[in-house]
Point group: C2
DNA sequence: CCAAAAGTGTTGCTCGTACACCCATGA
DNA sequence: TCATGGGTGTACGAGCAACACTTTTGG
């Protein structure tokens, strides 16, 4: 998309326009989460000692976002329900060349359908990881995920299409790592109007059946990034 | 910091370990803001038609953060009062090679002291920009800046060490692009306890002098990234 | 009838918003 | 004395947190 007309005007420390020794291997790695049976799980490759986040080397002509999508598809056989870029870090390969790593946060709801196509396994995000870089990425992914739980509907991307309020609450609790009050939670959610009731109920034990709900799309305000008094009224 | 033991385990599409054609030029560019005379200003190089964000090519061995700091120092002769990484985008140089650009948001308070060392000028962030990529970076920088205004003390990095409450309020208004109520603003700020009163007053016109305050450090909770009910009480 | 999970209301407090007037100073 | 910006209080509504019992079902 040709740009960079003014590359050398001031800071350009590469007057020749040749890349030579000033070029880097770039990889894209993804912290892909799901929730199953009351646990938050992270997709890892090369299990056991050398566990690592799924990743892919960036090749010329590819976009970062598309590579990130490809990493997820390769890992679990389907695209994610949610994905966003996290952070970019530099690191060293073999102590020789320098490299740059662009990380993404991704979520998948019904991870059961297409089982991991390759040697990808689901593990606790607090478990061991081979690379130090992956630790940073996972830690930061969890911070972002917890934060966005508050002002977005990101949690719905960790659930199947229809779900009970208890399932939804459990998802929140698993991510936040603490219990929430049932009545307050239900009031918050229902008051926000992001739920569409389904006619159906889920009966699955010797107890009262639970109503099933569906996420009402067109309601995810990513504009919630602003503080209460930064968008609305007040004068 | 040798890592990457498991590089080729699963997604590795570079089995030889050689970079060859899979390497990229990486540059670091900074959206550096200041506030002067009731205006939010952006540092630009190569004025007029070819205006661009200050940037620097990444060289092996350098860290992204240090390069970003260097870009600011080169541009205005001193380090920023605040800096954080924003986002990473891929783009094309000369329609030939592919490149990756890591962008940063930076703030400087008293920008007057060391005047721009090179051909850097302060301009409105809504003005024209040579590169399309720079537009995206500036737009996103403004979104982040406005958002962080709410749950961090980021605004103090745009002010001199001591300042009046009106100066502080003006800073908020300039960034948010709208007026705020004086009494509510002062109550919010003083109630938060992030201000230390100075004994001094500022007299600068035929009107009542304004009390000068100092920002009380050790009070910038970056942990405000979490929602109200995600960190504190509730059972 | 009993275990087990679903479902439901009220109260107090904090915080954001709207709104108008007196104070201190220099000219 | 007057023009200019500095400084102050109150009342309403919204939203969060604390807290316990009844309902429906399968076995």
């Amino acid at each position: 998309v040709g740009e960079e007309g003014a590359l050398n005007t001031v800071q350009g420390s590469n007057p020749s326009g040749v890349h030579g020794e000033e070029s880097f291997a770039v990889d894209v790695r993804v912290a892909l989460f799901t929730v199953a049976e009351g646990e938050l799980l992270l997709a890892l490759t090369g299990g056991d000692h050398a566990a690592a986040l799924p990743r892919q080397t960036l090749r010329p002509g590819a976009s970062l976002d598309n590579v990130a999508l490809g990493v997820v598809r390769t890992a679990i056989g389907s695209g994610p329900d949610y994905i966003e870029q996290l952070y970019t870090l530099e690191h060293t390969i073999d102590g020789d060349h320098d490299a740059v790593s662009v990380s993404y946060l991704a979520l998948i709801g019904t991870h059961g359908a297409a089982s991991p196509s390759v040697s990808v396994s689901w593990a606790s995000p607090s478990g061991p990881l081979g690379a130090g870089l992956d630790h940073k990425v996972v830690d930061y992914a969890l911070v972002r995920l917890r934060a966005k739980l508050g002002y977005t509907n990101i949690a719905f991307n960790l659930l199947p299409e229809s779900f009970t309020l208890t399932q939804l609450q459990t998802t929140y609790e698993v991510i936040l790592g603490r219990r929430l009050d049932k009545r307050n939670f239900r009031r918050r959610i229902t008051a926000s109007g992001i739920l569409q009731p389904t006619a159906t109920h889920l009966r699955e034990g010797s107890h009262r059946p639970a109503a099933l709900y569906r996420f009402s799309r067109d309601h995810d305000p990513s504009s919630y990034l602003t503080p209460p008094w930064a968008w609305g009224a007040e004068r």
